[in-house]
């Protein structure tokens, strides 16, 4: 009997070796800020540069990557705030769809005589913000776990978008904005510059304001933070609101860039955004990671997908790869000490 149980316990320890190894990698990843991400990016670029015989590094491709990564980066900066807090925000698709419709209907289009021009920006921010406030209230006052509250909201908002829009494609005919968004400065796409500015501002807020301290305190240990005097409920609502506002910005930019507004615009946004957040090194357990992580993560994911396209990888396989990357990134950055029994 002893030999069998000995063998079994040795087997058990091998099976535990996997989470133990992952945990060790996780500790290293969490410590080193963005080093791992930059290394990954360099490695990716290297692999694809060789694989595409240099086409990957052409100025045109680099511009493509930067312009494609900008909006996911902005959305990821919004979403990562809720993850740092220790929760999550799954409502980005719903918010994007609703904002898209408003963008379509309020800017110059072929159906009505609206032409709000640049006013669309504050309007979009407002819509996103209201959605965010509701998310925050659902989470703090009604004590609904953030993943279900935001998931439900996403469905609600999407439903509203489809109701207003009735699955019609609205052409956005505003020339100035279209040119502005798709334009470039010294060869760098405008929206990429905008994304960098947003990242810098957000990172600054996280590093150098009291609000930033509270954000990380709640993510680090909510009970202790509360005891120390942090107004947890208020901060949480603010965070969800900011996330919503940022989604509004990203959605408006996306709609204007595409030139077409549909209620389906939100579809498929959640996945790459969460992947960007995770790959960037923002731990799902909370308390770690900043805007620069989220933006870098978006850059890595976009570079990966762009490389796969250039190398003619089947588009549907690409999504599978993204799925694997998401799971791997989360697995590596989780702080297992915080987990207890995983739900």
């Amino acid at each position: 009997m002893t030999t069998v149980s000995d063998r079994l316990s040795r087997l058990a320890s091998i099976r535990e070796w996997i989470p133990a190894a992952l945990a060790a990698v996780g500790v290293w990843l969490r410590r080193t800020g963005t080093v791992a991400q930059i290394l990954t990016l360099v490695a990716l670029v290297g692999v694809f540069a060789i694989g595409t015989k240099g086409k990957y590094l052409s100025p045109a491709n680099i511009q493509t990557i930067l312009s494609l990564a900008a909006i996911p980066a902005i959305l990821a900066i919004g979403l990562h705030l809720t993850v740092v807090l220790g929760g999550i925000d799954l409502s980005v698709q719903g918010v994007a769809s609703l904002v898209a419709i408003f963008v379509g209907l309020l800017m110059k289009n072929q159906y009505n005589s609206n032409d709000v021009g640049l006013w669309i920006i504050p309007i979009s921010l407002g819509i996103g913000g209201v959605a965010g406030v509701i998310n925050g209230v659902l989470n703090t006052r009604l004590r609904i776990p953030s993943f279900i509250a935001t998931l439900g909201m996403s469905w609600v908002l999407y439903g509203m978008a489809v109701y207003i829009n009735r699955a019609v494609n609205i052409q956005i005919l505003d020339e100035r904005i279209f040119k502005a968004i798709n334009g470039m400065v010294f060869g760098i796409p405008n929206i990429a510059i905008l994304a960098v500015i947003v990242a810098i501002i957000m990172q600054f807020i996280q590093d150098r304001t009291q609000f930033g301290r509270y954000l990380y305190a709640i993510g680090g240990d909510e009970a202790v933070a509360q005891q120390g005097g942090v107004k947890v409920e208020k901060i949480k609502i603010i965070v969800f609101t900011i996330a919503g506002i940022i989604y509004g910005l990203g959605a408006a930019l996306l709609a204007c860039r595409l030139g077409v507004a549909t209620s389906r615009m939100g579809n498929g946004l959640l996945f790459p955004t969460i992947t960007a957040v995770a790959v960037g090194g923002v731990a799902l357990t909370g308390g770690l990671g900043g805007a620069k992580n989220a933006a870098l993560g978006a850059l890595i994911v976009t570079s990966l997908n762009d490389g796969m396209v250039l190398m003619h990888v089947n588009p549907y396989a690409q999504q599978a790869v993204n799925g694997v990357v998401l799971i791997a990134a989360v697995a590596l950055t989780l702080d297992r000490k915080k987990l207890g029994f995983v739900k």
């Binding site: 150098r208 301290r213 305190a217 933070a225 005891q227 005097g229």
Partner: protein, 513 residues
């Protein structure tokens, strides 16, 4: 302004008078008085359940007293929450630590109070760093203030907390804050302990300190005055110079001793067979290698103060923790380490201290809880048989006299004593050989307590071995055949406790402290 010679006649900094606090069914504090004078290091002692933590929580505003007054510098105050307490200059360093692990030392020091470092909404990290370093230098701590708190040791973490409290009270203009230290030395090594106490002596010039500790030695060595609490009441207070360890312990633990409360006439002598054999079981940081046995039908009491290692020993036996060395054998067969299912299969049962969160599935009914361990035995044709399930449940409900309207009642709706009996039935149903009982009568009314004692006697008669940790020394002595005394992680003594030859609690106390 302050005449040190007349320190004794000065207004106490904090005076709690006639503090009373009741919880449903229990009186936690009964007209307790506590005064804290300027620049004094006060020691507060008492066993678990004596009311120390409730009193402290009242002092820092986490709980409101039902009666009594709190006076700060002679003026009555109410502390509605912990922020009020901090603003009044009263702060506590918790045992579990209240620092945010991912924030840096300086961020933790100034959390929520960074306004002083703020210019146009932006924090000046440079001035924060300088202020942090200066603050820590005052308590002779020189570490990198940018390190995340998770990366500094427990001793340094405590000092950071002390520094934070000192700084906060200065911020609110208190020149003699009250600092409460809750069991600070449990996580410290010897040298760190010395450092801590030298710092505390140093801080005495600018603060009053209340030290809560179960290590009476360090209380006597460091404090100027000692207050003893027992059963929610003041027992005594004495200047340290007059205190004897033994006297304190007696005051802490002594109860009136009533004989047949524990049905000693039913105590059986230990049987022939040995059920549990523990050999050189050790766990670094918790307890040193120890060995003992439990025989058939024997009740062994595991006795020691909080921190003696007894709880960890039981956790290792139940498979909840993994020991570093040694072995556990049940009926001659070695147990796998760190596996609750292994322990359960071998025949070890564990009645946890917290039955609501660890003992029962509250939202499921009595029958489901009783049958949890023996589902495989209640099958007919490969599937669970409702008939057998009901039979088993009914059997144990009557065996253990669980008072419930029906076996389909949710466990959440039973009284504490009946919940405890349900937990016991669950294990009995699975034919345990050794039962570990962790404070089995805590939170149980007198009638149910008696029933549980009788149940234990019956189980002993049937040959089941038991390892028990009780709420009071009397309970331990009364129930046990034999007692294992633990102190500071070592098994120091084995004492016989046969009926008619029961040891005196006073003798035991001297061993555990």
């Amino acid at each position: 302004m302050n005449d040190t010679s007349s320190r004794a006649s000065q207004e106490p900094v904090l005076a709690l008078r006639q503090i009373t606090k009741e919880f449903p069914g229990v009186v936690a504090l009964d007209r307790v008085d506590l005064t804290i004078g300027r620049n004094e290091l006060l020691g507060l002692v008492g066993e678990n359940g004596a009311g120390k933590s409730v009193l402290m929580k009242i002092m820092i505003g986490l709980i409101q007293p039902d009666g009594g007054t709190i006076k700060l510098h002679g003026e009555q105050i109410t502390l509605k929450n912990s922020s009020d307490a901090i603003r009044s200059g009263i702060g506590m360093v918790f045992q579990e630590g209240s620092l945010v692990p991912n924030l840096s030392v300086m961020e933790n020091l100034f959390l929520c109070n960074e306004a002083g470092f703020r210019k146009l909404g932006i924090l000046s990290l440079r001035s924060m760093r300088a202020a942090a370093r200066e603050l820590l230098a005052q308590i002779k701590l020189h570490i990198d203030v940018d390190l995340p708190v998770a990366e500094i040791g427990p001793a340094e973490r405590q000092m950071v907390e002390i520094a934070r409290l000192l700084w906060l009270s200065k911020l609110y203009g208190h020149d003699n804050p009250v600092l409460i230290m809750d069991e600070p030395t449990t996580v410290l090594a010897d040298k760190e302990r010395e450092t801590l106490f030298s710092i505390l002596q140093d801080i005495r010039n600018r603060a009053s300190i209340v030290l809560i500790s179960h290590r009476l030695q360090e209380i006597v060595e460091n404090c100027s005055r000692i207050v003893v609490l027992k059963d929610g009441k003041n027992v005594t207070e004495m200047p340290a110079s007059e205190s004897r360890l033994l006297k304190i312990e007696q005051l802490m633990v002594g109860h009136s001793f009533s004989a047949d409360r524990f049905h000693e006439d039913e105590q059986r002598t230990r049987g022939e067979k040995e059920i549990l054999r523990v050999e050189n079981l050790g766990k670094a940081g918790w307890f040193q290698p120890l060995s003992f046995t439990v025989g058939e039908g024997e009740i062994v009491g595991l006795i020691g103060l909080v921190g003696s290692g007894k709880e960890e020993v039981c956790k290792c036996l139940a498979g909840l923790e993994r020991a570093d060395s040694g072995s556990i054998s049940l009926d001659g067969k070695k147990l796998p380490s760190g596996s609750p299912s292994g322990a359960v299969r071998a025949g070890i049962g564990h009645i946890p201290i917290d039955r609501r969160s660890e003992g029962l599935a509250l939202m499921m009914n009595v029958a489901d809880n009783v049958n949890l361990l023996v589902l495989n035995r209640l099958k007919a044709g490969g599937l669970l048989s409702p008939v057998r399930e009901r039979k088993n449940a009914h059997h144990w409900v009557s065996e253990c006299q669980i008072k419930t309207p029906s076996i389909a009642t949710l466990c959440a709706n039973l009284s504490g004593g009946n919940q405890q009996k349900t937990v016991i039935s669950k294990w009995l149903s699975s034919r345990v050989r050794l039962l570990i009982l962790d404070h089995p009568t805590r939170g149980v009314d007198v009638g149910a307590k008696d029933e549980i004692y009788k149940l234990m006697r019956r189980l002993a008669k049937e040959g089941i071995g038991m390892l028990v940790m009780c709420d009071t020394l009397e309970e331990d002595i009364g129930l046990a055949n034999r007692m294992l005394i633990m102190k500071d992680g070592r098994l120091v003594e084995e004492i016989d406790s046969s009926p008619k030859k029961k040891p005196d609690p006073k003798d035991i106390i001297s061993l555990i402290v």
